[in-house]
């Protein structure tokens, strides 16, 4: 393994300091915690929006802290949910008196730790609500699973909830729009290569020179299916079909699409995928209202991509257009 790191056990700590050093006017790190918050948190009279999860998904989540998006983000060890006490101190630091919305990706670790943190915060008289994002259509939501995973669609939840909170809406309203995104978004991913965690130092799964994994998550979990390598067009088609099958959209529906890179994929390739994706939207009679292409929710150095489709209405479009100023996403008026 070759990585630009020092000791594997220091990587999250040093990354967080390196982020604050890059955005000293926007970010602040809580003392002795692996938690970043807005420089001016808590913002009085505004609902706080927080998220968190294992590290290795940068710019998720710390990179989405800022005006119009998150107030705080907790960074666990690589691919390991943050602990409940860290989450609790984040919630406290981001409560401006109007309560805090926790945007949780649907993993048992995240859910359990956020649950505990919410209980702890409520004991401090902080109003807490949670929305659990589960946009990954690769995983069937059945008795046989713990439900679908939360992946790239999470960023849209940050954006929409953040915009609503910036408007001055109350916790219920903010929670409602966050849930609206969750109800309307689907994602499916694939990997050309496994990621390598700093700690293990070897690929989490082995893929042959001619194999790819479909239906991967963002933690180097093997996918749901292994197939022969295919062209960008074929891959775009497969992922898109799965997502659209799940969403069952009406003709003429306006959508936001994301081609998300997994960390090691050149932007060039993501644009090639977007090229086919937009043709497919056309072929399916869907209207792309906005198309995002880039690394939003990564899996360390994995090569691969995911495709997200989110059905929009006027309210969501307005909230997605609202200004955002964060290291990882800027929306200007």
């Amino acid at each position: 393994m070759k990585k630009l790191i020092n000791e594997p056990e220091d990587v999250v700590d040093e990354m967080l300091d390196g982020m604050v050093a890059a955005y000293p006017d926007q970010l602040r790190r809580l003392d002795d915690a692996e938690v970043l918050v807005r420089k001016n948190a808590p913002i009085d009279g505004k609902v706080g929006i927080v998220s968190g999860g294992g590290s290795g998904h940068e710019p998720t989540h710390g990179g989405y802290i800022g005006e119009g998006m998150l107030d705080g983000a907790a960074a666990g060890e690589v691919f390991t949910s943050p602990t409940a006490d860290q989450l609790e101190s984040m919630i406290e630091a981001c409560d401006g008196g109007e309560g805090v919305l926790c945007v949780v990706k649907n993993y048992e670790g995240d859910v359990m730790n956020f649950d505990t943190a919410a209980e702890m915060a409520e004991m401090q008289d902080i109003e807490v609500s949670q929305v659990v994002v589960n946009d990954d259509v690769a995983v069937q939501d059945s008795l046989y699973t713990t439900g679908r995973r939360g992946v790239a669609g999470t960023i849209l939840v940050h954006k929409v909830a953040g915009a609503k909170a910036a408007e001055g809406a109350d916790l219920d309203e903010v929670t409602r729009v966050a849930e609206k995104v969750v109800d309307n978004v689907g994602t499916m991913g694939m990997a050309l290569t496994s990621c390598i965690t700093p700690d293990k130092g070897e690929p989490t799964f082995d893929l042959g020179e001619d194999e790819i994994e479909l239906g991967i998550g963002i933690h180097g979990e093997p996918g749901t299916e292994r197939t022969e390598k295919a062209s960008a067009d074929e891959i775009a088609e497969h992922l898109t079909e799965q997502v659209l099958e799940d969403l069952e959209l009406d003709d003429g529906q306006e959508v936001l699409t994301i081609v998300n890179g997994m960390g090691g994929t050149p932007l060039m390739e993501l644009f090639v995928v977007n090229n086919r994706l937009q043709e497919l939207m056309d072929e399916h009679g869907l209207e792309t209202w906005d198309a995002w292409v880039g690394d939003y929710m990564t899996s360390l150095d994995m090569e691969g991509a995911s495709i997200t489709v989110c059905a929009l209405d006027d309210e969501l479009e307005e909230l997605l257009s609202a200004p955002a100023d964060t290291p990882g996403l800027t929306v200007t008026e």
Partner: protein, 213 residues
């Protein structure tokens, strides 16, 4: 040495043994987690237990229940992931069973039952979901029956619990996961041994090893 002192020493010793064992098995556990999870179970467990070891070293005066609780609290705040709340939170709340009478044959059964219950409350996994519950359930059931029905000594009961846990671990391999990250794999999870069940077995084995000395 008073009873309380003896119990305290036993807890500290057990914790040391468990920590050393997990350290030894770190790569092994992470390997298992690579196949059907996210390659961090070994790291998670050793980070948590080393932390607990550090904490407990300075608690010369604490009651056994307090010590056990501290182990749980430390795991909660050091491990994260799924195993943090499951191991840590459950140890933390089950430690209450030792509060009044310290560690006895009876209270150890109560602890084991409370621990299993908590893991299932938090995680929602039944037996057969391919999780730590599959190792834990036979171990706890066997321990309880050995003590309460068969009148075995704790040491013998624990030995039987280890056997039971071992069979539980083996049972996880041929079945499909319903909980935890392995469940994302669907049928591809069949044929792999569950990391959390495996670490549960190691812990029970070290409890036995500690009791034998």
């Amino acid at each position: 040495m008073s009873d309380t002192e003896r119990q305290r020493e036993a807890v500290v010793q057990a914790l040391e043994n468990v920590t050393a064992r997990l350290e030894e098995e770190k790569t092994h556990l992470t390997e298992l987690d690579s196949a059907i999870g996210d390659a961090d179970h070994g790291t998670n467990m050793t980070r948590g237990f080393s932390g607990a070891n550090e904490k407990v070293k300075d608690m010369d005066e604490a009651e056994p229940a307090e010590l056990v609780k501290t182990i749980g609290v430390t795991l909660v705040s050091e491990v994260g992931g799924a195993s943090g709340p499951l191991y840590g939170g459950s140890i933390m709340s089950a430690s209450q069973e030792f509060a009044d009478e310290g560690i006895t044959a009876e209270t150890s059964v109560a602890f084991a039952e409370a621990y299993l219950e908590k893991v299932q409350d938090r995680g929602g996994a039944e037996v057969g979901a391919k999780t730590m519950v599959d190792a834990l359930t036979p171990a706890v059931h066997t321990y309880k029956k050995s003590i309460e029905t068969d009148d075995l000594a704790p040491l013998e009961a624990l030995a039987k619990a280890v056997d039971a846990a071992e069979r539980g671990v083996e049972f996880t391999t041929p079945i499909r996961a319903k909980k935890g990250r392995a469940s994302y794999l669907g049928w591809r999870s069949v044929g792999h041994q569950d990391p959390g069940a495996t670490s549960t077995l190691f812990i029970v084995e070290e409890l036995l090893a500690t009791a034998q000395t």
